[in-house]
């Protein structure tokens, strides 16, 4: 098996690869973390510990499906660790002793400055390599903790300072996406002494409503609550927040650990290309197990080989400059869809979508079950190409709009999203 050097330095700590369990049910005890590390994960963020001991509901999960695909999105109502603080600290200590080459990150959560400082001191004493401050769990039963804190920049800053008083370990602030602009609390965290940012935690959600009992899911004795949403569905939201922070001048140098809907090596690569140096995963592990890291390592290695990257760091942030404000995009041309008649199976899906969701520009030949493009009506939106089940619609002729800066022969780079 091809295996590239995936090592990376993040907040001054060396990782054998960037793949980490995120702080969650998947890293809840010594045995789980040990199995994950044996399977190939570069490190773990141990499930958040604190003086607060969670008392959980049953059941506590739900998932959103679409057609035959379950787990498009996942809802979780678990809070922080359910084991005692002593047990968790012992587990962290034993993990570091048994896996000295791996990175053990302690996620912590306090309800006041004193607790944050004390937790910081305790995890440092027990051998953690790094600290992650959980400012973002959206389902805490106490409003002095969780995402209510992460939405308050003053508290974030104050608690970061407290953590730094407790120890000098490198420290990440884990952000909540339940706000409009993540940069504000992220800047506050960096001002408070954080060494980097972890984003995103889960999105507050109601995944669905039971149509017989009129209750959201999961149903707990006839009721439900808003709680965190994760999985593939939140990946675009995570990438957007990471882009926002990376493009903020005050945060441009802040290292980021990317989290949110990561299932494949391609997802990992996307987070890295948008500036993340480590990758954290939970939902895909809950669905498929720790083994998914094998294809992260192999798939990313092949990608690096193909692209000529010898070093993971060389990939970091390469896509950042190519996401620009809408007002700066080139609006000077239309590219018409090109239909490959040989490949077309005559299903008519493009015709329906163009009519009902586009500009009525696909002409349907009923007798021969063939389609063509009416350039008078087509605006070049390419909804048809997004719909086509056999991917036979590509980019064709380009028309430059009159009175714009383009002239014929200008080099325009076209490529279709690969359909994932």
């Amino acid at each position: 098996m091809l295996k590239k050097n995936l090592a990376i330095e993040f907040c001054g700590v060396k990782f054998e690869n960037p793949f980490l369990l995120s702080s969650s049910p998947v890293g809840n005890c010594y045995e789980m973390c040990a199995k994950a590390l044996e399977t190939g994960w570069g490190g773990v963020v141990f499930k958040t510990i604190g003086f607060f001991i969670a008392n959980e509901v049953s059941p506590r999960f739900d998932n959103l499906g679409k057609e035959a695909t379950p787990f498009v999105g996942f809802k979780n109502m678990e809070q922080i660790a359910e084991h005692s603080l002593e047990d968790n600290l012992a587990a962290i200590k034993r993990l570091k002793k048994d896996y000295p080459g791996k990175v053990i990150i302690a996620s912590i959560m306090g309800s006041n400055e004193k607790e944050w400082e004390e937790l910081s001191r305790l995890v440092a004493e027990n051998g953690a390599d790094m600290i992650e401050c959980n400012f973002s769990c959206p389902q805490m039963t106490s409003h002095a903790m969780g995402s209510d804190v992460g939405q308050n920049p003053e508290l974030v800053k104050k608690y970061c300072q407290a953590v730094k008083r407790g120890s000098n370990l490198p420290m990440l602030a884990k952000m909540t996406p339940n706000l409009g602009t993540m940069s504000v609390p992220a800047i506050a965290a960096m001002e408070g002494g954080a060494d980097g940012i972890a984003a995103i935690n889960t999105v507050k959600s109601v995944t669905g409503v039971d149509l017989d009992q009129f209750v959201g899911y999961p149903i707990v004795n006839g009721k439900s609550s808003v709680s965190g949403y994760s999985g593939k569905a939140v990946k675009p939201i995570a990438l957007r927040f990471i882009h926002e922070m990376k493009c903020n001048k005050q945060l441009a140098k802040a290292p980021i650990s990317g989290i949110g809907g990561i299932e494949t090596w391609e997802d990992c690569a996307e987070f890295i290309l948008l500036g993340c140096q480590t990758i954290q995963v939970t939902t895909a592990i809950m669905q498929y197990g720790y083994r998914i890291v094998e294809d992260f390592i192999s798939g990313l290695s092949h990608y690096m080989e193909e692209k000529g990257f010898d070093n993971l760091q060389d990939m970091v942030g390469l896509a950042l400059n190519n996401i620009i404000p809408a007002e700066e995009l080139d609006r000077g041309y239309i590219v018409y869809p090109k239909i490959d008649e040989e490949e077309c199976i005559g299903c008519g899906r493009c015709y329906i979508s163009c009519y009902d969701g586009g500009h009525q520009a696909i002409v349907w030949n009923e007798e021969e079950r063939k389609v063509s493009v009416d350039q008078e009506k087509c605006v070049g939106c390419h909804l048809c190409a997004n719909i086509c089940p056999v991917s036979c619609i590509s980019k064709g002729e380009i028309k430059f709009k009159p009175n714009q800066n383009h002239k014929e022969g200008d080099n325009i780079v076209l490529s279709h999203h690969n359909g994932r």
């Binding site: 098996m1 035959a68 090596w265 391609e266 094998e294 294809d295 192999s298 798939g299 359909g419």
Partner: protein, 411 residues
């Protein structure tokens, strides 16, 4: 050709491959992976495909099996991985063979080169026979640095894969491209070289070969005394060989095939494809215990091949063949213009090895693939009996390990 295309003829599109992979239940301790004699790990390569790691999936197949594309096309997977698939309990198994064929085609399309040549710095090993067992053993030994030469009796390597299995089921270009991978590992091939005539144990040892592996397969067709003198009679081995080389121009209208295995079905479908109109297959086995795979049997039946089961040939006067039922007193008389015997093959090498010990089944006796002769090993059909390509591969791989430990033990 009018026959309904075999499923294997079409390769999945990328979308269909991902969809099929998404049907996989991603079992824990997957039964498919435990069912392959050649140690293919479908659970792993399907999971890689499901997680869009196509190159990793190709590596999983190829590092284990230099003939993975061939296996994907000819393996009776219903008996192995697909038969074991957990999804059988819900609806139908994952089409593992088709996914493997898709991935090995993808490997070709993107020009992957998984099997890497290593420095040849170890002993010379001779392999007699360029069929699946010999090629897999050659690849395994060359990958460990042995200086391997394959001696093949015929013009081309591949054995039954080249001269037996019809083009429709296994295209020559697939066989050639996979043999090329073994050649690229530094294995030398000497073709048109017959053991017993052009080379002997003494001559090979004289040339410095420290270990010799016989993997000559069941090369000789079995016949029945009553058919021996007739010009109407041909063996399946001859017929399929001629058909694959394209040398049959005119085919008889009425053909009788005797035998009930996959080879008999291959003969029937090949004759049909060449234009024969009236094809009858008579087998001694009853349908309940039919040796041909279900897929091949169904394929033949859906192409209007008549199959008579449970009949034994009792007389042939040069014109009419008389069969008697094994179950009752029924007789059938058939007057074909051509008779093709597909009643199995046998070993053709032991006669050149006078001092070799045989077991009670008449096969070459081995212990961990080693024969009673010093430095002489055997693999494939000649030790295991009339088996499949996948079994030949299993024994070829294991024989290579045995040879390595034999030679390594001397260091």
């Amino acid at each position: 050709m009018e026959d309904k295309k075999l499923e294997m003829d079409s390769i999945f599109t990328p979308l269909l491959a991902i969809e099929e992979a998404a049907r996989c239940l991603l079992c824990h301790d997957a039964p498919c992976s435990k069912a392959c004699p050649a140690q293919t790990d479908p659970a792993k390569f399907i999971r890689s495909l499901r997680f869009r790691n196509l190159m990793g999936a190709v590596e999983t197949i190829r590092e284990n099996n230099p003939l993975g594309g061939i296996c994907a096309r000819v393996c009776p997977t219903e008996k192995y991985c697909e038969g074991a698939c957990s999804r059988c309990g819900i609806d139908r198994p994952i089409q593992i063979a088709k996914l493997q064929a898709y991935l090995t085609e993808y490997e070709k399309t993107v020009g992957m080169n998984v099997l890497k040549k290593v420095e040849i710095d170890k002993e010379k090993v001779a392999i007699i026979g360029g069929g699946p067992a010999g090629i897999v053993a050659a690849a395994a030994l060359a990958s460990k640095g042995y200086d391997v030469t394959v001696f093949e009796k015929r013009e081309k390597c591949g054995g039954w894969m080249t001269y037996g299995i019809p083009e429709l089921r296994l295209a020559t270009k697939v066989v050639e491209s996979e043999i090329a991978m073994t050649r690229n590992l530094g294995v030398q091939f000497v073709n048109n070289c017959e053991f017993g005539k052009d080379e002997t144990l003494v001559s090979l040892k004289g040339k410095g070969f420290k270990a010799i592996l016989f993997a000559t397969g069941y090369s000789e067709p079995k016949t029945l005394p009553m058919f021996e003198r007739s010009t109407k009679v041909q063996t399946a081995v001859e017929f399929l060989g001629q058909a694959k080389q394209g040398s049959i121009k005119n085919i008889e209208k009425d053909i009788l095939i005797i035998g009930g295995g996959d080879v008999a079905m291959d003969v029937a479908m090949t004759a049909k494809g060449l234009g024969s109109e009236n094809i009858k297959v008579v087998a001694i086995e009853t349908l309940a215990e039919f040796p041909a795979s279900k897929k091949e049997l169904e394929h033949a039946r859906s192409n209007n091949i008549s199959i008579f089961d449970g009949f034994k040939p009792v007389n042939f006067d040069g014109k009419t063949v008389v069969f008697e039922s094994l179950v009752d007193a029924t007789k059938i008389e058939i007057e074909p213009s051509k008779i093709i015997l597909a009643i199995g093959q046998k070993d053709g090498i032991a006669k050149h090895l006078s001092e070799i010990t045989k077991n009670d089944k008449g096969n070459i006796a081995t212990n961990e693939y080693q024969t009673n002769l010093e430095g002489v090993f055997a693999a494939g059909d000649i030790i295991e009996g009339d088996k499949t390509v996948v079994y030949a591969i299993k024994t070829g791989k294991e024989a290579a390990i045995a040879i390595d430990s034999y030679l390594g033990g001397r260091r």
